[in-house]
Structures are given as C-alpha cells and as structure tokens.
Assembly symmetry: C2
C-alpha cells in the first residue's frame, strides 16, 4: 500500500473512532435522562440539561473532519460512501443528544407531580432505543449488514410500545384528571424515545447503503 | 470557462432546481396537512397519508445525484460545500414530508371529536413554519446570508408559540375532561410544527456554512 493510501486509511479509522466516541456520548446522555426519570433525581436532570457542550463540539469537529477528507483525498466508492454516511450519522447522533435534553426538560416538569403508576412501558422503550443506537453504530464500524437489518426490525417493536404507552396514559388521564399533567410529560418522553429509534434507523439505513450501495429507504 | 467546468456548473444548477422542487413538494404536503385540520376535511387527511411516494422518490434521486457529483467531479471549496449542504437539506426536506404525515395522523384522530375552541395558535405556528421553510430554501438558492439569519430568528418565535399552545391546551384539559383527547392531538401537532421549524433552521445553518464556511451551530 502506498504511503498516501495508508495515511488515508488511518484517517478513515480515526473518523470511525471519533464517530464511536460521539455515539458513546449520545448514549450516555440518553441513559442519564432515563435514569433521572426512573430515580426521580433532579440533579441528574440538571446534569443532562447543562451538559451538551462536549457532544456539540464533537459534532462540529466531525463535520469538519469529513469535509477535509472529501476535499483533500477525493475518495471513491465505498470510502466516499462511508464519509458521506459519517456526515449523516454525525447529524443523527447530535439529534439524539438534543432529544436527551428534551427528555430531561419533560422529566423536570414531571417531577413536580406525584408519579403516574409504574411509568408504563417507558423504561422498556428506553432500553430498546439504547440497544438500537448501539447496534446501529456497531453495524457502521463492522460494516455488518445483518446487524443493520436487525435495527430496522426493532424499530417496529419500538413503534408498538409507543402506541401502547399512549393508549395507557390516555386511559389514566380520562380516569383521573390529577394525572393529566404528568401523563402529558410521559407521552412527550415516549415520543422523544421513538425519535431516538428513528435516528438509529437512519444510521442503519446509511450502513446498508455504505456497504451494499443499495438504498433501502422508503421500502 | 472550459467545457468540463461549464458542464459541472450545469449539474450544480440542476441540483438546485431539484432541491427547490423537493422543497415545493414538502411545503405543499405541510400546507395540505394544516388545511385538513382547519377545514376538518377527512379526504385531505387521506391524501396526505397516502401521497408521500413522490417526495420519497425525489429523496433517493437527490442523494444519488449528489453522490455522483462528489465521486465524478471532485468539487472543491464552495462547490463541495454546496453539494454536502444539498445532501443534508435533502434529508431535512424528506423529514418535513414525514412530519406532514405525522400531522395528518393526528388530524385523523382529532376529527373524531368535537373541535377544541379555535385551534389556539396552531394555524399561526403552521404559517410561520411554512415561511421559515420557504425562506431557508430561497436562502440556499440565492446564497443569501441575511435571509438565513432571519430564519434563525423566526425559530425563537415558533418556540414561544409552541409553549403558549401547550399552556392553553393544558388549561383546556384540566377544565374539561371531554377535551383531553382532541387537545392531546393538537399538542402533538404543535410539536410536529415545531420540528418543521427545526428543519428549516438546519437548512439555514447549512446555507450559512456553505456561503461563509462558518459553522454557526451550537452558538
């Protein structure tokens, strides 16, 4: 392998590493937001609300890095696809970080009220969203089509959970007006979790395109 | 201008035209979704729910076109930035189309109940989201920094409207349990409109980066 090519491969590996780092941060913030809800811990809420500087910084750095690779290395085929995929995945991960903030905002309001029974299926939704996020990033790094497909299947499951959460909370609100405000916040939280699943799905679709050059969106 | 360069400029102009076409479709679908709510028109709801094939098709075509330009033309500087911006904007516009579907889904449920007073500030939110979307695309085509900045300012206004809508509907629900279900749908619709504003903001930020090579996100 000539020197230029080896240097470029190093840059691509570095890019993957950074993207994983960004994914780790996004996952950690999601985990904290959910923990603040389950443990009813206002300090963790505040930590999520004020702690997005690192992921935002990484978001800008990653874009810049992808941009320089596109401009200076003029990559082709799978390398080009993996850099364009990185630009998109970077956006998705930054949005996951934003959604962790949105969840924390809802939790902050939620904690001002007595709890609504056992949070229904929300912890289950959060668990699934986290697995999807992790799997989609592993699929990117290992270029694993099977794992990417698995993420797409899990999204249907997440969607079903969201529908069930909505139905259960609506029943709660209709039965007891005192639960209206906290139930509303739980519904919003379940929507944020659903969107995190959508972002993991985007990542999985980008992986499929990167590996196979096939566009599986809208099928 | 040599022949290759002229051909490339034609391709870039074609790309802009397609992106505008995609933007027009997204805007039209948003307009229909809002009209179905205001006019309480179930047929328009169904038209939105079943009519996303064109925008999805364009989404895939645009990505493919950007990809070929990156691979074959090896663009530099502002041209490279405008193609990467097109990839991102394409994603944002497709999401706006999805959000029109989400709005229509909520309208379908909403129409099963008697109306909640005068839809509060939702038509105003919809109007503002549409203006932001149109301005952000105009800013892309005209490379107009001032217009892009205007979109960023409007997003704060949209956010305030969303907060007011939420407060008003919560008061409604607490006052009269019969409004719980339709109010919930209106809250979800206002959140979808807020997200459309977020996508217009993304586009505006991409325009600023494209024109000035400055990253204004997270400021």
């Amino acid at each position: 392998m000539e020197r230029h090519a080896r240097h470029f491969q190093d840059e691509l590996d570095e890019l993957k590493g950074r993207l994983l780092g960004m994914g780790g941060l996004a996952e950690e913030r999601l985990r904290m937001a959910v923990r603040s809800l389950v443990d009813r811990d206002g300090r963790v809420v505040e930590a999520v609300l004020t702690g997005d500087a690192a992921i935002n910084q990484l978001h800008i750095e990653m874009d810049d890095r992808c941009f320089k690779l596109l401009a200076l290395q003029q990559p082709m085929a799978v390398d080009l696809r993996s850099i364009v995929a990185a630009v998109k995945i970077n956006t998705d991960l930054e949005r996951v970080g934003d959604l962790a903030v949105n969840i924390a905002e809802a939790v902050r309001r939620y904690l001002q009220h007595p709890p609504v029974k056992q949070l229904i299926d929300i912890p289950k939704m959060a668990e699934l969203a986290q697995v999807m996020l992790r799997d989609s990033l592993d699929a990117y790094v290992r270029r694993d089509l099977g794992l990417a497909q698995k993420v797409l299947a899990q999204d249907d499951e997440l969607d079903e959970l969201k529908t069930r959460v909505f139905r259960d909370l609506l029943a709660c609100m209709l039965r007891d007006a005192a639960t209206i405000e906290p139930s509303l916040d739980l519904i919003l939280i379940s929507r944020h979790l659903e969107r995190i699943g959508d972002h993991a799905t985007n990542v999985a679709e980008d992986v499929i395109f990167m590996v196979s050059a096939k566009d599986v969106r809208h099928q």
